[in-house]
């Protein structure tokens, strides 16, 4: 079972690093924001997995907060770019 957790964590870290490439390289601003969006979703899954690995039910609250607040940063940056703020 532990081996399965390590494989899952390795895949998530690999996905995070690959998305970070586009974040640091991306030619225009929206490319980087797309990469940030993908990284926030990957890290939400990672937070839920950490709660499973540590076997603490209360740790999943952090993933709950991320799932519902993570999109607010992206929406505010997008509204800034179309002169909404």
């Amino acid at each position: 079972m532990d081996t399965f957790y390590y494989i899952l964590g390795g895949i998530l870290l690999l996905a995070l690093v690959i998305a970070a490439f586009r974040f640091f390289q991306g030619p225009t601003a929206p490319d980087r924001i797309v990469a940030l969006d993908a990284m926030s979703i990957i890290l939400t899954a990672g937070l839920a997995m950490l709660a499973l690995v540590f076997h603490r039910f209360i740790y999943i609250d952090v993933a709950l907060i991320y799932a519902i607040l993570g999109f607010m940063g992206i929406v505010s940056i997008a509204r800034w770019m179309e002169k909404g703020i």
């Binding site: 532990d2 390590y6 964590g9 390795g10 870290l13 995070l16 690093v17 970070a20 974040f23 640091f24 601003a29 980087r32 924001i33 940030l36 990284m39 926030s40 890290l43 990672g46 937070l47 950490l50 540590f54 603490r56 209360i58 740790y59 609250d61 952090v62 907060i65 991320y66 607040l69 993570g70 607010m72 940063g73 505010s76 940056i77 800034w80 770019m81 703020i85």
Partner: protein, 92 residues
């Protein structure tokens, strides 16, 4: 002989994952400091708080992780963006 003893133990994998996260944290912080486009600097600080929250949860500090998630994700980004609208996007 020491190198041969380095098999893939759980502790080593755990430390490698933490090291990758720490490396990304430092690179994102440097990115947001040296960037001339200030919108991208704000995006970089958002990424820093994102990774920092996961690191706090790795250190078994869910209170601090929750605070970082609640404040760093949306509110500071919005306040920085309002300040950026009143000034200019590019740094001379």
């Amino acid at each position: 002989m020491i190198l041969l003893q380095w098999t893939l133990t759980p502790e080593l994998l755990y430390q490698a994952g933490t090291g990758i996260l720490l490396f990304l944290l430092v690179v994102a912080a440097i990115f947001s400091v040296v960037q001339k486009d200030l919108l991208m600097a704000i995006v970089g600080t958002s990424l820093v708080s994102l990774i920092l929250s996961v690191l706090f949860l790795l250190l078994h500090a869910p209170d601090v992780a929750l605070t970082e998630a609640a404040i760093g994700v949306a509110l500071t980004t919005a306040i920085f963006l309002i300040a950026l609208r009143k000034t200019g996007r590019y740094e001379e």
